[in-house]
């Protein structure tokens, strides 16, 4: 019984923790998905056999197998979304670092005055999606 309570508390804590943060539509969808996940997790903890019942309906044998499959799918979609977000922040970081390097650079030629000339052509922050 203790393990059940501990698991439920853990699921709630994770769900609450993940619900914090900023964003718009996609964030809202992720939060709804998370709530659903938490509800399902609680159900499967309270009624361990329910998972097996569903698994047998779906022809995957034991509930533990079903859990594993779902986990694999969730894990890979997490990796994929993480990858996309990492790439985006890497691009932003690149633009920022480049801007700094260009702003601190000496003018290209003595006769061409003003450091603000440097890099004014491209790499405005707007270029980074």
């Amino acid at each position: 019984m203790f393990i059940k309570i501990a698991l439920i508390v853990a699921v709630m804590a994770v769900a609450l923790f993940m619900l914090r943060g900023q964003g718009a539509r996609r964030q809202a969808l992720r939060r709804l998905g998370l709530l659903l996940f938490a509800a399902l997790a609680v159900v499967s903890i309270v009624f361990p056999d329910s998972l097996t019942t569903v698994a047998q309906r779906l022809n995957v044998g034991r509930g533990a197998d079903l859990l594993l499959y779902v986990l694999i799918v969730v894990f890979f979609s997490y990796v994929a979304s993480r990858y996309v977000r990492d790439r985006r922040s890497a691009q932003q970081l690149t633009a920022l670092a480049r801007r700094l390097a260009l702003d601190e650079a000496p003018p290209p030629r003595e006769c061409v005055a003003g450091p603000e000339v440097a890099g004014s052509e491209a790499a405005g922050p707007a270029e980074v999606a």
Binding site: Q91, T94, A97, R98, L100, L102, P108, V112, G119
Partner: protein, 230 residues
Amino acid sequence: MAQARFDDVWVVIPVYNEAPVLAAVLDDVTGTFGHVCVVDDCSTDGSDAIARGLSGRGVRVLRHPINLGQGAALQTGLEYVLADPLMGRVVTFDADGQHHVPDAAAMAERVGTGELDVVLGSRFLGGAKGAMGGAKRLVLKAAVAYTNLSVGMKLTDTHNGLRAMNRQAAQALHLTQNGMAHATEILEQIKRAGLRYGEHKVEISYSPYAKAKGQSLLNSVNILVDLMLR
């Protein structure tokens, strides 16, 4: 001293921890070219100070506040030299002493005649073997075959850091691949912009220093993944 006929040429040199050879390389380059842009990618060995010491010879140093990669450094350099209205040609040159200044000069000359927009260095042109080891050659040749296929070109060397281009070509490049996958990205953008390109036979030296510091063959796996997951 630098030659006047190259006064519209900027040499862009991406640098990451090349302190042991940088002074000699820059000395060599500034003997021919009067405008050199070193993009130091947050080196930790004082490479930037070495380059700054040569500001009297036309070396301008840009420093990324964090290490971003060779592709990012090239793009930064291109944007810097494009801010010089008198810039007509750009040469990209490696800092590890593998490239030869006379090759760079000859390639800049070819761009100068207006015959081509981009001249790409090739260590394999005319069936040359190049001075690298067998495994390296094998990986490079595989990269050439794969890149030609994916880009739709017929080049003999697709991963050579020595290039010369005119202003129009420099403007057409917008590299987003910060790492080594930029070599393929450059070719794609040359193709898409409809630039006139050609290859030029160049010598690549494989000194013990360059060999020890150069790309691990395993990094080709990373480059491939970078290219596929775009």
